[in-house]
């Protein structure tokens, strides 16, 4: 009898197959490809605790005598390529690759902090003393811009990797009295705390510059930022990093950006993850950010205007309204973005020496794109309106030296600040100055809210929509007049 055993088993399998196969064939299948954004999120390796390693390395050393470069040299003993890698990044060079500048007859320039100004603290060049509290290099000097950048030992590993007990002081150096050995013992992969220390405080304080990056993102709520709040993302989950090369570039400080260098939603999400066909039709013209970031600065207010012309007076300081050293400000919270066509690059970036028309607002930067540009999508921006000094003789924006004992913040003497700049960065000063209005656009791409909060049709379309269709180049609301072809 045992001989026939396999046959009836086969029969059983056959019968079950006859029943199961059609069931599987008819089983309802999800019509759409499964969107699994988690698949692309980097896995974080467990970090080796450096406590004992550092302790052993500096066993006999008095912490008070240790300098930043000492720590860096110690790091390089085990991570020999680290400094070399860092020194190739824009975090180190503070400038992008060379690009052709159309409004300067195709001259090739690498745009960076030394040749551009903004409408916040105006110029980093010449103000190394203070501005380098964020730069990742040690041993900056006032006059010899970037001389320190050639020494690998000047790479500040701790500013990104120390998880506790570290802060920068003047000229890029650690704050006096910092126990660098203890700080080095705490190293790990950078979290929101390290990136945020500089990027949340750009422009000289919490939330000043970006609007979509501020200290509320250290520990954000779900509704504030779904990635960091609900899913506890760290910056490097999207700003994917290999060999210290961090993906993602800020258009405000660059001119042309290769999309491959930019962080995008589609790193993890489908290009059109919407079930709703009507929403899907928007994908060619509307950036994800436009609907999914209905407002920025949702928790902490951000600066939307800065008027330098009123500075220097004793009007009583108020962080959100007026400071003697900086002038008057307007801060806003939960701000509805300004919407422009944007193809990822700039059409114009003000470079030091560019001549302006002081009767018009000057664009510090102007996002590139228009309704005719198939690469462009409607994108949210924070508009920062400045009123800043310009040379009434030469008609260009001035770059006052503000920090240091001779700087404007100490002397409140504009002339002196401009003369000092002439010396340090070589920007000639005619001797007369005025104030002019400047506009700077900041792309809004963080503070992505949960999908429930995304904009709905009537937020943009219809009687009370937030879009200015005519300004965007449409004949009227595209809901009625049709979209671009």
């Amino acid at each position: 009898m045992s001989k026939v055993k396999p046959y009836w088993l086969l029969g059983l399998i056959g019968i079950l197959a006859v029943m199961l196969v059609p069931i599987i064939v008819f089983w309802p299948k999800s019509a759409r490809a499964l969107d699994d954004p988690w698949a692309a999120v980097p896995k974080h390796p467990v970090h080796v605790p450096h406590n004992d390693i550092i302790a052993a390395r500096f066993k006999e050393v008095d912490p008070a005598t240790v300098t930043g470069p000492d720590i860096t040299r110690a790091c390089l003993e085990c991570h020999p390529k680290a400094a070399e890698d860092v020194m190739m990044t824009s975090h180190w060079t503070w400038q992008g690759p060379e690009v052709e500048i159309p409004w300067r007859n195709g001259e090739k320039v690498a745009i960076g902090k030394f040749n551009q100004i903004n409408n916040f603290c105006i110029s980093a060049a010449g103000n190394q003393r203070s501005c380098t509290s964020c730069h990742i290099g040690y041993n900056w000097t006032e006059d010899n811009y970037g001389a320190n950048l050639n020494d690998p030992a000047n790479v500040d590993c701790l500013v990104c990797h120390a998880q506790s007990g570290y802060a920068k002081g003047k000229y890029g150096n650690p704050k006096d009295g910092t126990n660098l050995i203890a700080a080095a013992q705490s190293v790990g992969a950078p979290t929101r705390l390290q990136c945020g220390k500089c990027h949340f405080n750009g422009g000289g304080g919490n939330g000043v510059k970006h609007g979509d990056l501020d200290e509320s993102l250290y520990y954000p709520s779900e509704s504030q930022d779904v990635h960091m709040g609900r899913n506890n993302f760290v910056c490097t989950d999207c700003h994917v990093t290999t060999n210290h090369q961090i993906k993602g570039r800020l258009v405000a400080d660059n001119l042309v950006i290769d999309p491959a260098e930019q962080v995008s939603c589609t790193q993890c999400h489908n290009a059109n993850p919407h079930e709703d066909e009507r929403i899907g039709l928007h994908m060619d013209s509307v950036a994800c950010q436009t609907c999914h970031i209905p407002a920025f600065a949702t928790e902490d207010p951000t600066k939307v205007s800065w008027d330098w012309s009123t500075s220097g007076q004793d009007l009583g300081d108020d962080h959100y309204k007026y400071l003697k050293i900086k002038g008057s400000f307007v801060y806003q919270k939960n701000v509805q973005p300004t919407y422009l066509w944007f193809n990822g690059s700039l059409a114009y970036r003000y470079l030091i020496g560019d001549v302006i028309d002081p009767s018009q607002p000057t664009y510090i930067n102007k996002p590139a794109g228009s309704i005719e540009d198939p690469q462009a999508k409607i994108f949210p921006f924070k508009l920062h309106v400045g009123k800043q000094p310009y040379d009434t003789g030469f008609n260009y924006l001035l770059a006052p030296i503000t920090a240091g004992p001779d700087g404007y913040w100490t002397t409140f003497d504009w002339d002196r600040a401009f003369r000092l700049a002439e010396e340090r960065i070589g920007l000639p000063y005619s001797g007369s100055y005025g104030f002019t209005e400047t506009w700077m656009y900041w792309p809004i791409t963080h503070m992505v809210q949960p999908k429930e909060n995304a904009l709905r049709c009537n937020d943009c379309h219809g009687e009370n929509g937030r879009m200015d269709w005519q300004a965007l180049g449409y004949p009227g609301d595209p809901m009625q007049w049709g979209g671009r072809k």
């Binding site: 300004t338 009537n458 219809g462």
Partner: protein
């Protein structure tokens, strides 16, 4: 009531203005000032400047008289055509069934008919009360006999030229030539911001002739003066026409429609507020419908669980639709559907030119077929409905099993308006009145009485079957509003007791009359508490009736009615519609969820459904505690059989009994067999091996076994999803359908095999010898009841060419020719109901087929029990079973014939 509403709106506007001012003062907008300026859309780029004319056709700048819309707009548009083609103007004057003449127990006052002894609502007072919510024209200018109202002389006995003096209770004449009449007000819908409150003020004061002019306050055309109105010369050019910048004529917006119909919210960022059950927002009050694109979670309504309601109040409002997109002018060339286009034309280009349309735009607007609006019945179903824009079958067929069956039973609204998030009126009890003279009002979907601040819970509308114009019968959501009131017999027929008489019966000098207190104050504390203010006893009823009789009213008695209100707005998009099968396919099905009608019943009077609706009243009114009444839908009476909810109890009882009975039977038989076997001397029968079943026979048998087994199990889940919640209902339906198909195919293949091989003969008893059959069966029965316990051998030898004993032969014959085919057929018909509902209906439809299918399923279950047990009666208990696996069976080689 109206004043409080405008008060609320005024407050809101003032508050916002103040906020805006404060913001400006703080300089918050400083930075924004640099943004590109938003262009103000020109409201009426096309409408030319025009002169304002009075009713004599004179320019109002010269005459200074009230504006006449018929004359002013009539300069270019055919206003006579417009008024005569507008049920909004007619309101039932000519066609009947409208706001003019159809009694509404919510607003209560009854429009008196000629000859009515007691004047209730005269035309003038009707206009004063309702005028703010009607556009004018129709009954506001014309008498019932077609005469201009202005030509009717004051006459206290003519309800069209009289008014009831509320102080004396006596009718007095009404002078239309003094009050003026109210022409159809074009500006009400064609101005962006008609002055509704100024207009309402004129109407309520009876200055009907001024109402249309008051509407223009705020446009800059006209200003209020102590004596009336004065035209603003600055708004007019030298030619006496309005300057172009003052012309702000536009297509009606949602806000214009909202002025009369209900809560509509267009200013998106500002949180929406709802004043519960406020009849000034009639549609919202009676149903809870709110037409707004704002997310419910962002609205200002104090709504339970609001934070999770990330959906718009109405998906169409969110997606930018206007009221007029569906309720369009019937001859608007941009919208009108060509009903008359012959079948061979996809598009009929012969339409009005836009100029022709603007001359004579039909102001009969496309309408639905709601239960509550009975005006202009000939236009029912003319509007764009869901299916005019959506292809529902294609959007549902990828996930909804039996799509077309669902669509043929359910209106889209049933699933897409799952819940109302604003309160709605539940009942009005006019059998009692408060000291202020108002009835007892109850709101559903609201906790407590405060209609603005209390927690809103919303409510689930009741599903009732309605018969559409095209004859389709669909379940659709409704609110049911129940009202109770006193009626009396007048010479002209029964009439509701006049409000003035009701007050006279209850009140005396602003307090409850002593007889009323004596009857109503049941706890004898000297006053009538709210809980006591209800005619819930014969004594109370008698006390009021006596007071009404004393006023001269004949046969006063309480009646009650239930008015269904259709719910078609507040549509949820697909993410928020009902999608879960077990919402309906469950013991507690949404389809038959009851709706509370009242919390008590005045003197036990059963309210009656109003008769003029398209709703099929198949449900029951059931009583709850303390006289509360509920409407309980009985959808099975509508021919709607809901799997998982509907079942015939006796079928399940009988089936379960048969199944359990068989179980007990075989258990008893088996026990006895075992006991007798223990007592019996054992002797080894002589056995021989026979190749009993061929491979195909075994394959067929086991495939059938497994399919039936899983069919029974999945069928049980579909039948009682409430008991098997762990299983997915739609997946079980799928498995059931696939296995059923396999069963049928297997059956057909097997039939083919049996017929072609001749094996089929084994199943056919020899009907030519009926006596022989019976004798043989008796022998076999005797064996199973007696012989088997004695260890007797089987009476009929099981052979390759005769496997079945007479009893088996007979049973299997019945099984294979009756029971199984019947089950397959009934199942196939139930499955086919989605494609060929007609065929199923020939066989009694689902209400017959489904219980039959359940019954046979039970019997098959019972058969399997018996069948499996009988396989143990072979040479050894497992021998027959083994044979069906291997094909080889050991059978007794010797046998006896009796």
């Amino acid at each position: 009531m109206k004043t409080t509403v405008f008060h609320r709106k005024t407050l809101l506007v003032t508050g916002l203005a103040l906020l805006a001012l404060t913001a400006l003062a703080l300089g918050v907008s400083q930075a924004l000032a640099h943004r590109p300026a938003v262009a103000t859309p020109q409201i009426s780029p096309l409408h030319p400047p025009f002169a304002l004319l009075d009713s004599e056709g004179q320019n109002v700048l010269q005459s200074g008289r009230a504006i006449s819309t018929m004359q002013t707009c009539g300069q270019c548009h055919d206003t006579a055509f417009i008024e005569s083609h507008s049920f909004h103007a007619d309101l039932g004057l000519k066609t009947g069934g409208g706001l003019y003449g159809k009694w509404d127990p919510l607003t209560y006052r009854y429009l008196s008919q000629p000859g009515d002894k007691r004047l209730d609502l005269s035309t003038a007072e009707w206009l004063m009360i309702n005028g703010a919510r009607i556009p004018g024209g129709g009954p506001a200018t014309t008498s019932r006999s077609g005469q201009p109202l202005s030509e009717i002389a004051p006459n206290p006995t003519n309800p069209e030229a009289a008014i009831l003096n509320s102080a004396t209770g006596q009718p007095e004449g009404w002078d239309w030539s003094k009050s003026g009449v109210m022409e159809m007000n074009c500006f009400l819908c064609h101005l962006p911001q008609p002055n509704l409150s100024a207009r309402a003020e004129e109407i309520r004061a009876g200055r009907f002739g001024q109402a249309n002019t008051a509407t223009l306050l705020g446009t800059g055309w006209v200003e209020r003066t102590p004596s009336g109105f004065a035209y603003n010369p600055a708004a007019f050019g030298a030619d006496g026409k309005l300057k172009a910048e003052f012309v702000r004529i536009q297509d009606p917006t949602n806000e214009n429609c909202a002025a009369c119909h209900g809560e509509v919210h267009v200013s998106n960022p500002e949180p929406l507020l709802v004043s519960a059950c406020d009849l000034n927002y009639h549609q919202t009050a009676t149903t809870g419908q709110v037409f707004a694109g704002q997310k419910i979670s962002l609205s200002g309504v104090n709504l339970q669980g609001k934070q999770n309601l990330n959906r718009a109040w109405d998906i169409h409002a969110e997606r930018g639709l206007q009221c007029t997109d569906c309720h369009y002018s019937l001859n608007n060339p941009a919208h009108a559907l060509s009903f008359s286009a012959p079948g061979h034309l996809a598009y009929d280009p012969r339409k009005l030119e836009i100029g022709e349309y603007l001359l004579r735009p039909d102001h009969n607007f496309a309408r639905g077929q709601s239960a509550q609006f009975t005006v202009a019945p000939s236009l029912k179903g003319t509007m764009r409905r869901c299916e005019s824009c959506h292809n529902a079958v294609s959007t549902h067929s990828d996930w909804l099993p039996y799509t077309s069956q669902h669509m043929s039973v359910l209106a889209c609204e049933s699933c897409h308006i799952p819940q109302m998030y604003a309160p709605a009126i539940q009942s009005y009890d006019w059998t009692v009145i408060s000291i202020e003279g108002s009835p007892t009002r109850l709101c559903r979907g609201l906790t407590g009485d405060d209609t603005v601040n209390n927690l809103v819970t919303g409510y689930q509308p009741v599903l009732m079957q309605r018969t559409n114009i095209d004859g389709q019968k669909l379940l659709a959501p409704y609110n049911l509003v129940t009202t109770f009131y006193w009626v009396y017999d007048s010479a002209n027929g029964p009439r509701p007791v006049r409000e003035i008489d009701l007050k006279a019966a209850y009140l005396s000098n602003g307090q409850y009359a002593s007889e009323i207190v004596a009857a109503f104050d049941t706890d004898k504390n000297g006053q009538i508490d709210p809980a006591e203010l209800r005619t819930d006893t014969i004594e109370k009823q008698a006390a009021v009736a006596a007071r009404l009789e004393a006023l001269g009213l004949e046969n006063p008695r309480i009646e009650g009615q239930i008015q269904p209100y259709s719910i078609n707005h507040n549509v949820a998009g697909k993410g928020h519609a009902i999608r879960e099968c077990t919402t309906c396919h469950h013991e507690n099905s949404r389809v038959t969820a009851p709706l509370q009608l009242t919390t008590y019943t005045p003197a036990g009077v059963m309210p009656q459904f109003v008769g003029d609706t398209n709703v099929n009243l198949t449900g029951e009114i059931v009583s709850g505690e303390n006289g509360a009444l509920f409407y309980q839908p009985v959808t099975i009476k509508d021919g709607v059989y809901v799997f998982g909810r509907d079942r015939v109890p006796w079928v399940d009882w009988f089936g379960a009994l048969a199944f359990v009975g068989t179980l007990f039977g075989v258990a008893g038989h088996g026990t006895l067999r075992y006991l007798s076997w223990l007592k019996r001397p054992k002797h080894q029968p002589v056995l021989k091996s026979v190749y009993m079943y061929e491979a195909y026979e075994r394959f067929w048998h086991w495939l059938q076994t497994f399919s039936i087994l899983f069919l029974l199990l999945s069928g049980l889940v579909i039948h009682r999803p409430d008991m098997f919640g762990a299983f997915s209902f739609p997946h079980m339906v799928l498995i059931h359908n696939v296995l059923a198909a396999i069963l049928i195919l297997n059956f057909l293949f097997a039939l083919f095999w049996h017929v072609t091989t001749g094996e089929v003969r084994q199943y056919i008893p020899n009907f030519l010898k009926p006596v022989g059959i019976i004798n043989d069966m008796v022998v076999q029965i005797k064996f199973y009841t007696i012989g088997i316990f004695k260890g007797e051998p089987h009476p009929f030898e099981k052979r390759r060419e005769k496997k079945l004993n007479p009893l088996q032969q007979f049973t299997y014959f019945g099984l294979l020719t009756v029971l199984l085919p019947l089950q397959m057929l009934s199942g196939a018909l139930m499955w086919g109901v989605q494609q060929w509902p007609q065929i199923a209906s020939w066989f009694g439809g689902l209400p017959f087929l489904a219980p039959l299918h359940s019954l046979i399923a039970w019997l098959l279950g019972a058969f399997i029990v018996g069948h499996v047990y009988l396989t143990t009666t072979g040479a050894t208990p497992l021998e027959a079973m083994r044979a069906m696996v291997t094909g080889w069976e050991e059978v007794e080689s010797e046998h006896h014939h009796s």
